[in-house]
């Protein structure tokens, strides 16, 4: 069941106060640099959602609003054109963080593999947090930028590696062809 009537009638005030989840939050690179009070401020803007096994969390190419953090359960990331699942994520892991920055569409589909409890962290709430507490907002955005930068660097290295091996392969083929011609 994905609705929490207790949360509805308490206007979400009971949510996000478990210290255990705060530890999970602290282990996520985006929030790793935050202090106790800052983490509590982040917790207040998270949306708790519960998914059944097989339920879609978001679909590829649909507009994305932000990222999800898995408190418990397993989530499959599936991309059109790729065989099977791209990756399977579990407790404490997060996904879909790119739309938090660019508000763009989802590059893959996320589906609950088991029953999951997930926390959503969305762009409108991040904007509102930046408006109220710019220092905390900047910390989060900088961490996000660092993660995206790291991934971009890793992707660049991977592309360079692929180019390098392609060049080597082409060189080897050329040598083999010239040897054959001789």
């Amino acid at each position: 069941m994905n609705i929490d009537l207790k949360e509805f009638f308490t206007f979400g005030k009971n949510e996000g106060r478990q210290p255990l989840f705060r530890d999970t939050l602290k282990s996520i690179p985006i929030f790793a640099e935050l202090g106790r009070r800052e983490l509590a401020a982040v917790e207040r803007i998270l949306h708790k959602r519960e998914y059944q096994a097989g339920e879609v969390i978001f679909r590829q190419d649909e507009p994305g609003l932000g990222m999800y953090i898995i408190e418990s359960g397993r989530v499959s990331i599936i991309a059109d054109g790729a065989p099977g699942q791209v990756v399977e994520l579990g407790d404490g892991e997060f996904f879909g963080e790119l739309p938090l920055l660019d508000g763009g569409s989802r590059s893959a589909t996320a589906m609950a593999k088991t029953s999951c409890r997930i926390y959503g962290f969305f762009q409108p709430d991040l904007f509102s947090l930046i408006a109220r507490n710019p220092r905390l907002g900047v910390k989060i955005v900088m961490s996000l930028a660092a993660i995206i930068g790291m991934r971009l660097r890793a992707a660049n290295e991977r592309v360079e590696g692929l180019l390098h091996s392609a060049r080597e392969k082409r060189g080897a083929e050329k040598t083999a062809r010239s040897k054959g011609a001789r």
Binding site: N2, E7, Q52, E55, R59, S128
Partner: protein, 347 residues
């Protein structure tokens, strides 16, 4: 509970909520009016509380501080303006310049009889008509105070309380509402709510500032022209200005009436009309283009229909709320359509 049962439950909660709201509208319209006014005020004042929060205070402390500031301002204004208002009320009751007024009425009656006699105004008795109207009006005012007074007092106390809690817990309330949206529509609902929040906030705040500016300018203009009861007529003109087309005329009408029938000065009435025309031009050419959100352009016919429906359902307050409520509906529909197109709910 499986996914299908959960979706069915969510759907029933939505239908139940909507049915409950509609039932409230018809059974206790006063409460609904109060909620609408409180929500609109909370929207208007939210950025101020957020700005205080920006100084490092908690939301609760910021809301308290804002309310303390508002109460102080009201207190200071009341202590300054109370003697003026009481003086104007006493003058209103005693009907100052009665002789001069009677003179103007008789002159006006003679002009109408002479020029418009062919229209059946030959045996017009303006003094008697005005006297009847005055008696009717005062009986209605007394009737209103006796019957609606206690309710108004309760609303007057309850509305600021409601605004306080909406300002303090507004974010949590929105979060609580979002929490009951089914998973499939959750991101869509959040996206929609956020866009509506921004557009609606801008629209309501611009309307409020415009009404305030027009009210203050009208009060100053009437004070400069030495029109009596300017402390009542000015703010009324500001409020009336919220109603397009009809509002500016309705706002100027009391000032013209006071000049003609209380002061007995036709020249002053003309000056008042000129002042209101200048103010309206200023409002249309300077204030509104700067303030009023461009996103919510309403068709004149739609505005007029909304005012009539609002007036039929909730009286004068309904007329005042008709345009913001229509703007709200337009924003909701507009954003719903734009956002819906981006999501593939047919899957």
């Amino acid at each position: 509970m499986n996914e299908k049962q959960s979706a069915t439950l969510n759907r029933w909660i939505f239908i139940g909520g909507l049915a409950f709201f509609l039932m409230m509208v018809f059974l206790v319209p006063g409460v609904v009016k109060m909620i609408i006014v409180a929500v609109l005020l909370a929207y208007i004042f939210d950025p101020i509380v957020t700005a205080i929060e920006l100084r490092g205070l908690s939301r609760t402390a910021s809301t308290f501080l804002f309310f303390a500031f508002v109460v102080s301002i009201v207190w200071i204004l009341a202590s300054f303006l109370f003697p003026v208002v009481v003086g104007q009320l006493v003058a209103l009751q005693s009907g100052a310049n009665a002789e001069q007024t009677a003179g103007v009425i008789l002159r006006l009656q003679a002009v109408i009889r002479a020029k418009l006699g062919f229209l059946g105004f030959g045996d017009l008795n303006l003094a008697e008509t005005i006297d009847h109207f005055g008696t009717y009006l005062s009986s209605r005012v007394v009737d209103f105070i006796v019957h609606e007074g206690p309710t108004l007092l309760i609303y007057g106390v309850a509305t600021p309380f409601m605004v306080f809690f909406l300002l303090m817990d507004g974010r949590e309330i929105k979060k609580g509402l979002i929490s009951i949206v089914p998973n499939r529509y959750f991101e869509f609902a959040l996206d929609l709510l956020y866009k509506m929040d921004v557009q609606l906030g801008n629209y309501l705040r611009s309307q409020f500032i415009d009404a305030m500016a027009f009210g203050v300018l009208s009060t100053i203009a009437l004070w400069l022209l030495d029109v009596k009861y300017f402390m009542f007529i000015g703010p009324f003109a500001g409020l009336a200005n919220l109603i397009p087309y009809v509002g500016p005329i309705a706002g100027a009408f009391p000032a013209v009436a006071v000049s003609l029938f209380v002061l007995g000065d036709a020249a002053k009435a003309i000056q008042v009309v000129i002042a209101f025309v200048i103010l309206k031009l200023l409002d249309d050419m300077l204030i509104q283009p700067v303030l009023v959100a461009k996103g919510v352009n309403l068709h004149p016919l739609l505005v007029l229909l909304a005012i009539i429906v609002g007036g039929e359902m909730f009286g004068v307050l309904g007329m005042l709320l008709a345009v913001p409520a229509t703007g709200f509906t337009k924003v909701v529909l507009q954003e719903s359509i734009v956002t819906l197109r981006k999501y593939r709910f047919t899957d």
